[in-house]
């Protein structure tokens, strides 16, 4: 077994995570975590749908921001996909998608303030980068033969419209629809930094222990996501897309002077701004690195590695829940419900809830990341096992699991896990805003003390770290010859 590269890679990552545990801050610090958890579940079971007059508006805004953000991101991403073969475009896209929606929102909040544009751009910009990458991959897969058969002299655009688009249409549409679901999650969490979406009210009720109100919001959010196939119909899409911009709320008028000030003053490193020149810049950078960036990077990497392995373990435990090869319909149905909830809840919200209940440490973050990502991969792997036909005398129970199924799905399991490595890291960084000492914590602290120059440097470092992990993840997937489809 140890001669298998996949097994060896898994063991190396397991070992890294175990060493990471020695350095990680894993604890339940709340005095009575189970009582709080119980209260929370009680709240979910006794939801109060009439708590706040703003609840329906918040849902509407959540949908509106998702639609506008994903539409703008989709259009820009598509245009970028057309020129994706150029290296500068690829680097640009990798960069904009390496910065989390919440970081983008925090940046735009500083000069657009609570204008709808802040929320729209926070979703549209990283999504453009992701769309560009995936769209270009899809377009590359198109059958090249019809293009070769076209009469010479056919225009590029015509050729593209006739031979590429129709061939990829289904995949483009499926992926875009899938992204819309991701967009709803992104839109919801933007509320945590003050935009008028669901997260805004969720944070309010949660922090005050109004679990029935919070429960109602979560239930509405699940219903919203679970019913997407019912209310997102191709024929209604134009209505949604044209209508959504009018439901973003008005916010405040943009003052363009603020935008200029942000770029020409706020983000200029303070030694330069104060005229100390390069001589002042180096100690400034040095201090920033030693006191904030390095501890942030260290914690982010440790937490990411632990969460990655935890995600893997949870996936392997969870996929039998929905696999046809185990259990009866009742167990599978409850398995589906569990996985739908796990993957529909944004990690940020899960982490927020668990932090409230268990107190601050890395533990809530690890559990949140593992639940969300394990829910996604477990669902995909479980579905994959349903296409496997076992011989009729195949072993039962645990032997069936360990001898028949796991070996068959292990490669795609690893492929998904390494695909999500970068996503887990991006989320880990952002969870710092909740008070875990990852890079997000230092970004948030810099913003809280109105030091946008420091915040920008830290965000850039976060982006570089994500790009690095993305490259490493792709390298490992190529080395192990693992293939996957994109998830978000």
């Amino acid at each position: 077994m140890l001669s298998y590269p996949t097994v060896r890679t898994s063991l190396i990552f397991l070992a890294i995570a175990l060493v990471g545990l020695l350095f990680a801050d894993i604890a339940i610090t709340a005095n009575n975590p189970w009582r709080d958890l119980g209260n929370f579940f009680l709240g979910v079971l006794t939801p109060n749908f009439f708590s706040s007059e703003g609840l329906l508006t918040a849902l509407l805004r959540t949908v509106a921001f998702a639609f506008v953000g994903v539409t703008v991101g989709g259009i820009c991403g598509f245009l970028l996909a057309l020129v994706y073969r150029f290296l500068p475009v690829r680097i640009f896209c990798a960069f904009i998608r390496a910065i989390h929606e919440l970081f983008w929102a925090l940046i735009f909040l500083q000069f657009f303030g609570f204008h709808p544009l802040t929320g729209v751009l926070a979703i549209a910009i990283p999504y453009s980068g992701i769309f560009a990458k995936v769209y270009s991959e899809i377009l590359e897969e198109a059958d090249p033969e019809p293009g070769r058969l076209l009469p010479p002299g056919t225009g590029t655009i015509t050729a593209f419209l006739y031979t590429k688009i129709p061939d990829c249409w289904i995949q483009l549409r499926t992926y875009t629809a899938y992204r819309l679901e991701c967009g709803l999650r992104s839109s919801a969490i933007l509320g945590f930094v003050g935009l008028p979406t669901l997260g805004f009210y969720l944070e309010t009720s949660f922090s005050q222990g109004m679990y029935s109100d919070a429960g109602a919001m979560l239930i509405l959010f699940y219903v919203l996501i679970a019913t997407i196939p019912l209310w997102v119909k191709p024929k209604l899409l134009p209505v949604y897309i044209l209508g959504a911009p009018f439901f973003l709320g008005d916010g405040f008028p943009i003052v363009w002077g603020n935008v200029e000030r942000f770029f020409t003053q706020d983000i200029v490193p303070s030694p330069l701004r104060d005229g100390e020149g390069l001589a002042g810049l180096i100690p400034w950078l040095n201090e920033l690195m030693v006191e904030q960036a390095l501890p942030g990077i260290w914690n982010t990497v440790i937490l990411t590695q632990i969460a990655l392995v935890a995600t893997g373990i949870l996936t392997l435990l969870a996929f039998p829940l929905i696999s046809n090869h185990f259990g009866g319909p009742i167990r599978r149905t409850s398995g589906h419900v569990f996985l739908v909830i796990a993957r529909s809840t944004p990690e940020y919200i899960l982490a927020y809830i668990l932090l409230q209940l268990w107190g601050p440490s890395m533990l809530p973050a690890v559990v949140a990341l593992a639940l969300h990502n394990g829910g996604i991969i477990g669902h995909l792997i479980g579905r994959q096992t349903n296409t496997i036909r076992l011989r009729s005398d195949a072993p039962q129970g645990f032997n069936r699991y360990s001898w028949e199924l796991v070996p068959r799905v292990y490669r795609s399991f690893l492929a998904f896990l390494f695909y999500r490595w970068e996503i887990i890291m991006r989320e880990t960084a952002i969870l710092g805003i909740l008070g875990i000492y990852t890079l997000g914590f230092y970004v948030d602290s810099a913003i809280q003390s109105i030091r946008f120059d420091q915040a920008m440097v830290l965000i850039l470092i976060t982006a570089m770290l994500n790009i690095g992990v993305d490259i490493l993840g792709r390298y490992i997937r190529r080395k192990l010859a693992l293939q996957t489809m994109p998830t978000c």
């Binding site: 070769r148 225009g155 015509t158």
Partner: protein, 216 residues
């Protein structure tokens, strides 16, 4: 350009020469059947000719090259995308113009599948798909037809009908065929390929079926 004179045709696959070097001269009015064992290099030769004449030909490749998601009409219309502006083509993608609809419909009528005009090609049978590719070549209306086994998926009467149509519509053609009887019936020149070389090149009326059989 109605005929062509190509020399030094070669092709290699995986470091091994599969075609040539060979010379092929086709005059206007030549209706050439390429015959030979499968794997002899007929398809490769068709492709080579297609490249060498800079695409100035109506091509029916063996794998058809249809855009499966598009309806029959658009797959056929693709034969003349170079004749219109981008704007015209884009509008056609959404809503075809009347005169184009009429022309394409006439072609499909001749191929006895006019009722399939708006059906996506993905949901057609193999024989129907083959006829769509043929319709596209007819619509393209280039001076030379290059076809690679264009009737492999058609039944007897339809195969004869299509060969008849191709002979009538294209004065000059090179058609790879494995059916010797068809080749003798619809082409006026037979070129036999063996091991990547021209092993036989005679007008049809000077050949008997037995002469060709030696290639197989």
């Amino acid at each position: 350009m109605a005929g062509f004179d190509l020399s030094g045709l070669t092709a290699s696959f995986g470091g091994e020469r599969v075609i040539g070097p060979l010379t092929l001269k086709v005059k206007e009015g030549d209706q050439v059947a390429l015959v030979g064992k499968s794997g002899a290099g007929k398809s490769t030769l068709i492709r080579l000719i297609h490249q060498r004449v800079d695409g100035q030909s109506s091509l029916v490749p063996q794998d058809l090259g249809l855009v499966n998601a598009l309806p029959v009409f658009h797959n056929v219309f693709m034969g003349q995308l170079d004749k219109h502006s981008t704007w015209y083509n884009t509008v056609t993608l959404v809503r075809p113009f009347k005169q184009d609809r009429k022309q394409v419909l006439e072609l499909l009528d001749a191929l006895r599948m006019s009722e399939k005009l708006w059906i996506p090609t993905a949901s057609l049978s193999g024989g129907q798909r083959q006829r769509v590719a043929i319709a596209r070549a007819l619509y393209r209306n280039a001076p030379v037809l290059l076809a690679d086994e264009p009737i492999s998926a058609l039944d007897g009467p339809m195969a004869h009908h299509v060969m008849q149509l191709l002979r009538d519509r294209f004065k000059t053609s090179v058609i790879a065929l494995h059916d010797v009887e068809m080749a003798m019936k619809y082409c006026n020149r037979i070129v036999g390929i063996q091991n990547g070389q021209v092993a036989l090149d005679e007008p049809t009326d000077q050949l008997a079926a037995a002469d060709i059989m030696s290639l197989y």
